[in-house]
């Protein structure tokens, strides 16, 4: 395993940036959907590819049915983000935006695409904007279920070796779901984030 990029101090800083982004996203989602939404990110890890796959087979995710959405981004940082939802999230989220509990599968997928677009946007933009960098997004698409995620993670010719795992606690009114945002960056982008974080932290220290 290559040594992890980003020092502990920088990871802390990144965690803060993501949380600020999540706060903005939650407020905006709540306003857009007319319901109480809380998004918090209790954890952010920098890890390599193999560990991501392993994590999906442990803990609360081990037995849950996964539905995943992917969204590429490009610009100052290039990468792909994957948002994972556990099973109860589908129906609940669909219900939340006004589709009935019996809503069609495609409608439920559409809701997940919308929510992932907002949360991934908040997460990646939260980082990019704080670092005064510009990032654009391609449309989100459905990645699929657990098997598809596994295939995605094990693909041989992928550029990224290290990624960010952002755990997101998703609370809607009294209910909460498991969801997780994975941000995968190829090494040059990771280095760019590292440099931008250096500038940010130096600026803070100087100021």
């Amino acid at each position: 395993m290559t040594p992890l990029l980003l020092s502990e101090e920088k990871r802390d800083a990144l965690r803060e940036l993501v949380n600020i982004g999540m706060g903005t996203a939650a407020a905006a989602l709540a306003a857009a959907l007319g319901t109480f939404v809380e998004l918090t990110s209790p954890g952010l890890e920098v890890t390599d590819r193999g560990s991501v796959a392993k994590q999906l087979d442990t803990g609360a995710w081990r037995n849950s049915e996964i539905e995943a959405v992917r969204q590429p981004f490009f610009g100052a940082f290039t990468g792909e983000s994957v948002m994972l939802f556990d099973r109860p999230a589908h129906a609940e989220l669909a219900g939340m935006v006004g589709y009935g509990p019996e809503s069609a599968v495609v409608e439920q997928q559409e809701v997940l695409l919308d929510v992932a677009n907002v949360v991934i946007g908040a997460c990646v933009n939260g980082i990019a904007e704080s670092l005064a960098e510009l990032v654009s997004f391609a449309p989100p698409t459905r990645l699929g279920t657990r098997a598809d995620v596994r295939a995605f993670l094990s693909r041989e010719a992928v550029a990224w070796q290290q990624g960010l795992i952002v755990n997101v606690d998703f609370k809607l009114e009294a209910r909460s779901f498991l969801s997780r945002v994975l941000v995968f960056l190829p090494e040059p982008s990771m280095l760019r984030i590292d440099q931008a974080l250096s500038r940010l932290l130096d600026g803070l220290a100087a100021g």
Binding site: L29, A32, G98, V106, Q109, D114, N117, G121, P139
Partner: protein, 326 residues
């Protein structure tokens, strides 16, 4: 002397020209662009949309989008737009979830059939002084992607269907049987329902092959398979287990009912059939029947019991049905 028009263009200067070109580009680009303000009033309507709706910018701009196009999915679109105004974030829709926003004919009137154009949409927030003042909806034609995806899906479905069928008889193959057997066992146990299995094979099959040749042997196998499909219910499951041996799973059927079905099958299989335009030929089958009990270990055990009963039918002189007794 320059014409008044050239004077006007020259008067724009390089920056003005760039704005002018940009406006033309937006108008003529081969995607649909419609811009609305927070109240849903149309501010921009480009040529692509003009061409597909036969409604000019003059007929649409300044009007409320939903009044002008009552067929739009209003509640959904309003929610989508509202989120872009609030979140200042791009939003997207795909033909995979929502085939189209505006119903347009596809762009190939001669080869495209009657399918409406599939559309991907991007919602772009247009900010001024930190506030989203309008949202542009960019509509791209995704019909080509849709069509190749549809062909791919059909090919995959056909391959999947083939991979679970026996090529000679068209009934399910052994691999599929093993999958279904597990699922049926679980289902029967969960809902406390009956499940029976019938294992049957053609008597003296080697003799049929030796006497009439393998092609006629194949016909005999097809004959028995087609009798089984005809006699059993649609909810029953028939698979070729190997060679001249078959398995039928009868969900919801107790052992006595399964034995009756096996007996009907035995009678039907014994009727003469015509193989390869030769004289009519007949074969007989032997069958063994088993049923799920609380102490049945698994699907394999269920089949093993049917197999034992089948063996008993053979030992007792063939052309008969035997019920497994523990």
């Amino acid at each position: 002397m320059a014409s008044p028009q050239a004077d006007a263009t020259a008067a724009l200067g390089p920056a003005g020209l760039a704005v002018d070109f940009l406006a033309r580009l937006i108008d003529r680009i081969n995607v649909g662009i419609v811009t609305v303000d927070a109240d849903g009033t149309v501010m921009q309507w480009n040529r692509f949309l003009h061409a597909h709706t036969c409604l000019s910018p003059e007929q649409v701009i300044g009007q409320n989008l939903y009044d002008r196009f009552p067929e739009l999915p209003r509640a959904w679109l309003e929610r989508k737009l509202r989120s872009v105004f609030l979140l200042k974030n791009f939003a997207f829709t795909s033909w995979r979830q929502r085939p189209y926003l505006f119903r347009f004919d596809n762009h190939r009137p001669l080869t495209g059939g009657a399918e409406p154009m599939r559309q991907d949409c991007t919602f772009i927030p247009l900010e001024q002084d930190g506030e989203v003042k309008a949202v542009s909806i960019v509509i791209t034609d995704a019909t080509d992607t849709y069509e190749s995806q549809t062909r791919l899906d059909e090919a995959v479905a056909a391959l999947a269907a083939q991979s679970e069928r026996d090529a000679l008889t068209g009934v399910y193959n052994r691999r599929k049987l093993e999958q279904v057997l597990d699922a049926e066992m679980k289902r029967a146990r969960r809902y406390n329902q009956s499940l029976s299995a019938v294992m049957f094979d053609i008597d003296h099959f080697k003799r049929v092959n030796d006497t009439h040749g393998h092609l006629v042997g194949d016909e005999a196998i097809k004959h028995v398979a087609s009798r089984a499909v005809a006699i059993l219910r649609v909810t029953d499951f028939v698979a070729r287990y190997g060679g001249e041996e078959f398995v039928a799973l009868l969900p919801g059927e107790q052992i006595a009912g399964a034995a009756k079905a096996a007996e009907r099958l035995r009678e039907a299989a014994a009727k003469p059939f015509t193989a390869l335009s030769e004289v009519p030929l007949s074969v007989t089958i032997s069958a063994g029947v088993s049923a799920l009990r609380p102490d049945t270990a698994d699907g394999k055990a269920l089949l093993a019991e049917a197999d034992k009963a089948l063996y008993a039918s053979k030992a007792a002189g063939r052309n008969r049905v035997t019920i497994f007794t523990p």
